[in-house]
Symmetry: C2
Subunit: 225 residues, 2 copies
C-alpha cells in the first residue's frame, strides 16, 4: 500500500468518525420529534371536585381567557375531569363518542359546546342506560346531535372518544358524576395513529349496525300456534 | 490548496458519504427494534366462542404443544379471549390484577395456572362484586393467591393487568363471560414503559390503601345518644 492509499484510508476513517459523531444528535432529534408527536397521558379518578366554569363558557370565549373568574367556592385548579374536558374541547372538526353511560352535566355541556361550534359530533350509546335519570342523551338529541344505540341484550360497554380523528380517549370511566367523583378509574389520552384507526373502524362498524332504519320498536310476535 | 489536501478532502467526503449511506439502515434497524419492543395490540369484543383448552393445560405442558387436541365441538382458532389468555399466560415473574368484576372461568384458570407456575400474583377487586355468584375471587383466595378489596361506597372500577412489570392490559372489559361473549368491549395490550410505570404506581397505591390490617369488618357504632 502506497502512502497515498494510507492517506485516503485515513481520511475515509476521519469522515466516518465525523459522521458517527453527528449520529447521536440526529437520533436525539428524531426521538424528540417522535415523542412530541405521540401524546400519551393517563388520568386517574376519582377526580378532585374543581370548578370547570372557565372551560365551559359559551362559544367564542376562549377557555384560557384569564378574565373568567368564577366566584364559586370550589378549587379552581386542574383535576382529572378538567383535563378530560380540555382534551375533548380541543376538537375542531369531529368528535366520535361511544359510551355505555353518559350523565355527567359538565361533559354534556362540553359536547353541546362543540356541537354549537360546528364540530361534527356523533354519539353511540347503550339502550339500557340512555333513559335513566340524569342521562345526557335526551339533551344531546334535543340539541340536534346524532345519537345511535343498540337494541340487543349485550351491553354497548365501550367508553371511548375520538377527537379530530387524531386523539383516542379510552378507559374504564363511564361519563357519570358518580364515576368521576367516587370511583377508581383510568382514562388514557393517546395521539396514536394506529389505535385511532382501529377504534374509528370499530366506531363506524357499530354506527352502521345501529342504523335507525334497522330499529325494531315493536318486535314481531310469532304468529300461529 | 495542494493536491494532497484535495485528496484528503475528497477522502473525507467519501467517508461521510459512506456513513450517510449506512444511516438509513441503522435508523431502520433502530426503528424495527423499537417497534418490536413496544407491542401495541387492541382486542375487540364480543369474542367468538372458541376452545381454549390447549392454552389452559396443567403446569409444565407448553401451551403451543401441538399434541393437545381437544375433541370438543367448539372452533379451535384464535379469538379475542384466546389472545387475552395468551398475553396473561406469558407472565414469568409477576402479575398484578386490578379488576372490578372477575367471574370468567377461563381467565380464573389462567390466573391459577400462573400461580402454580410460581408467578407472583396479586389481585385487587371491588367488594360489591367479589361475593356474587360465579365470582372467581373465592377460588383464587382458596388457591393461596393474595386478594385485597375496597370497603367504601365508590367502585374499584379499574379493569387492568400488568404482566412482568412490562406489559399493560387495560380497557372496558370486566372479566366475565357475559362481557366476553355478549358485550361490545375493548382491551389494549401495550408494552409501554411509561404507562406500565403509572399503572403500577396506581396499583401499589391502592394495594397499600386496601391493606387488610385496615379493614373494619364491624364498623364502629356511635356511642352515647
Amino acid at each position: 500500500m502506497g502512502p497515498l492509499r494510507w492517506q485516503v484510508a485515513a481520511a475515509v476513517a476521519v469522515g466516518l468518525t465525523l459522521a458517527l459523531e453527528v449520529l447521536p444528535s440526529v437520533l436525539h432529534w428524531l426521538r424528540a420529534g417522535r415523542r412530541s408527536r405521540s401524546r400519551r397521558e393517563v388520568l386517574f379518578f376519582p377526580s378532585q371536585v374543581t370548578c370547570t366554569e372557565a372551560l365551559l363558557q359559551a362559544p367564542g370565549v376562549e377557555a384560557s381567557e384569564p378574565s373568567i373568574n368564577c366566584p364559586c367556592s370550589l378549587p379552581h385548579g386542574e383535576s382529572s375531569l378538567s383535563r378530560l374536558l380540555r382534551a375533548l374541547l380541543a376538537a375542531r372538526a369531529s368528535l366520535e363518542l361511544c359510551l355505555f353511560a353518559f350523565s355527567s352535566p359538565q361533559l354534556g355541556r362540553a359536547v353541546q359546546l362543540l356541537h354549537q361550534r360546528g364540530v361534527r359530533v356523533r354519539v353511540i350509546t347503550d339502550c339500557d342506560y340512555m333513559a335513566l335519570n340524569g342521562s345526557q342523551i335526551g339533551l344531546l338529541r334535543k340539541a340536534g346531535i346524532q345519537v345511535r344505540h343498540d337494541q340487543d341484550l349485550g351491553y354497548m360497554h365501550h367508553k371511548f372518544a375520538i377527537v379530530d380523528k387524531k386523539v383516542l380517549i379510552t378507559g374504564s370511566l363511564n361519563w357519570t358524576t358518580q364515576a368521576i367523583q367516587n370511583n377508581r378509574e383510568n382514562v388514557l389520552i393517546m395521539e396514536d395513529e394506529e389505535y385511532v384507526r382501529l377504534f374509528l373502524e370499530e366506531f363506524e362498524h357499530i354506527w352502521e349496525e345501529f342504523n335507525p332504519t334497522k330499529y325494531t320498536f315493536f318486535p314481531q310476535k310469532k304468529r300461529g300456534h
